[in-house]
């Protein structure tokens, strides 16, 4: 049951999107978001949709997963859309009391909903589904590398993030197991008022914290046994280097971005 909450939802694969340099993917995702907000009108939106479709097809993860990424936010999307629908002035199509719907309002609502949906699904496909958490933190660490000059502990922060990401599934599994074990002894997590339920969590939280601290301790010792000393003089097993694939991706992205900006900003 808890398993369904997926945070690092990496879907292993070997598609071109999977194989792209994580640094590039982070930069391109940012670019995608910026360009998305510059789109305006049916043509440029169409091109963004095409871009998204291209990414999804190339990544070879099913449409099912893309839809799943949007689903939790469906309510917010609809809410924003409806709010916009009643809010925008223009040619009135329908009105009642102080409420009115305009043609422009409906248009804005549709664009708004599309924008949020494309924002989320694009980010999910590029960063969540096709980039393993380790690659992601690797990419972030290297992109933020220059900050080391002003004494930001970039490596340490990235390492902490990697460890945290690595242990989220473990902790979820552990929570599941402890909850089951306490349920087997008649613990009741589901009924009663707020105070009762909060109290009922104690049998779950105590063992969870105990085991989290034990794990942390063991991991720290294991890292020190292997002479981990932070970033100082540390080399990497896999250095990130842009490949031919990445240059092609940059070129395609540049063309698409230019197209969207032209259609959205320059033409209308």
């Amino acid at each position: 049951m808890l398993k369904d909450i997926s945070l690092g939802q990496y879907i292993p694969g070997t598609s071109v999107i999977h194989r792209m340099d994580p640094r590039l993917k982070i930069v391109l995702t940012l670019a995608y978001i910026v360009v998305l907000f510059m789109a305006k009108g049916p043509l440029s939106y169409g091109l963004v949709l095409l871009t998204l479709g291209l990414i999804i097809v190339l990544s070879r993860i099913g449409v099912r997963f893309v839809l799943r990424s949007v689903r939790p936010l469906l309510f917010i999307i609809l809410f924003t859309a409806v709010l916009n629908m009643f809010h925008v002035d223009g040619d009135v199509l329908w009105s009642w009391w102080i409420l009115k719907i305009t043609r422009q309002g409906i248009e804005t609502a549709i664009y708004m909903a599309l924008r949020i949906a494309m924002l989320i699904s694009g980010t999910f496909v590029l960063l969540n589904y096709t980039t393993s958490p380790i690659m992601l933190t690797d990419g972030i660490e290297q992109l933020l590398g220059p900050l080391k000059r002003i004494h930001v502990p970039v490596h340490e922060l990235a390492m902490m993030m990697t460890i945290a990401l690595r242990f989220i599934p473990t902790l979820i599994e552990e929570t599941d197991k402890i909850m089951s074990a306490q349920k087997a002894r008649g613990a009741d997590f589901e009924t009663g008022n707020v105070i009762r339920r909060a109290k009922a969590l104690i049998p779950m939280l105590v063992p969870l914290f105990v085991s989290a601290f034990r794990r942390a301790d063991e991991l720290a010792v294991a890292m020190e046994c292997r002479c981990y000393r932070g970033s100082e003089g540390r080399t990497r097993l896999r250095t990130l280097k842009l490949q031919g694939l990445d240059y092609v991706a940059i070129a395609i992205a540049a063309v698409l971005a230019a197209g969207i900006i032209t259609l959205g900003v320059v033409l209308p």
Partner: protein
């Protein structure tokens, strides 16, 4: 003997509709009779843990039924929480579930959830602790200050204190020293003999299961591959081997003896029985040595 638990064509898949979905149970039909000591064995990943978590309703099968005394436990109106007091499940590495300030209070967690009176709870805690061999001196300690073996005992006592009709133990001796494992097992047997409870023991240790169980069920890839008395099961060492399992060491000795042309039975699986057999053989004539 009456049937106490029965499963009908149980299917279970982990990770529902994700790309990593994993079939864990693939049509399990099993009848557990009241009062029997059932040993559940199987290669790692064969679905034993998944199966026993269905028996007290912690996991819900995607298809199939679990019947407790003839009643479907997932039927409307069936009290699952009540079932958990009757079908007590001790998890693998149960010491990770300890949480109270003292051992006594931790053991009391289950009985207290049952809504028993303080006096009754205290009595049950005392008795359960005695069953697993925890002395009075540790009862007021923090469970986190105990040794690994003591923690394990405390956790088992926490389930025994509910006086379940069926006691299920998932690898209760994993990671213990041989003597500690032997002791815990003897205590479980003693509990069974005194209380008349049904016991289901999941284990990897063939010696253990050979000594304790009346009936063995072998799991393989989410199905019941073999089901019978220890004699019947250990009498088929080739099949066991094909399922990735071992026979007890004494059985191996006897199989070797047979290969050497000595006329002995092959379904020998306890050291005690083996000893008698060897002694008789030796008495009958020197042809053995």
């Amino acid at each position: 003997m009456n049937t106490i638990l029965e499963t009908r064509d149980l299917h279970f898949v982990y990770g529902g509709n994700s790309p990593t979905a994993q079939t864990a149970l693939n049509g399990i039909n099993l009848t557990i009779r009241e009062g029997e000591f059932l040993g559940l064995i199987g290669h790692t990943g064969s679905g034993k843990t998944t199966f026993v978590q269905h028996l007290n309703g912690l996991l819900t099968p995607i298809s199939g039924q679990i019947l407790y005394r003839g009643e479907d436990i997932h039927a409307n109106g069936f009290k699952l929480r009540g079932l958990r007091f009757k079908v007590g499940l001790v998890f693998q590495y149960p010491e990770h579930q300890l949480f109270e300030e003292t051992v006594a209070r931790d053991i009391a967690f289950g009985p207290r959830n049952m809504g028993l009176s303080d006096a009754e709870v205290a009595e049950r805690v005392r008795q359960a602790a005695a069953f697993v061999g925890l002395g009075d001196d540790v009862m007021d300690k923090s469970p986190f200050d105990l040794s690994g073996g003591q923690k394990r005992r405390a956790a088992i006592a926490g389930v025994i204190a509910m006086r379940p009709e069926v006691l299920i133990l998932d690898e209760p001796t994993a990671g213990l020293d041989p003597y500690g494992a032997f002791q815990i097992l003897s205590q479980i047997r003693e509990f069974r003999d005194k209380s008349g409870s049904t016991v289901v023991l999941v284990t990897h240790n063939m010696e253990t299961v050979a000594r304790a169980a009346d009936r063995l069920v072998v799991f393989s890839q989410g199905t019941v591959a073999m089901d019978g008395t220890p004699e019947q099961i250990f009498g088929q060492p080739e099949r066991l081997e094909a399922l990735g399992l071992d026979v007890p060491q004494v059985s191996k000795v006897f199989m070797k003896l047979r290969e050497l042309g000595i006329d002995v039975e092959t379904s020998v699986y306890t050291v005690k029985y083996a000893k008698n057999l060897v002694e008789t053989l030796l008495r009958e004539g020197g042809q053995v040595c």
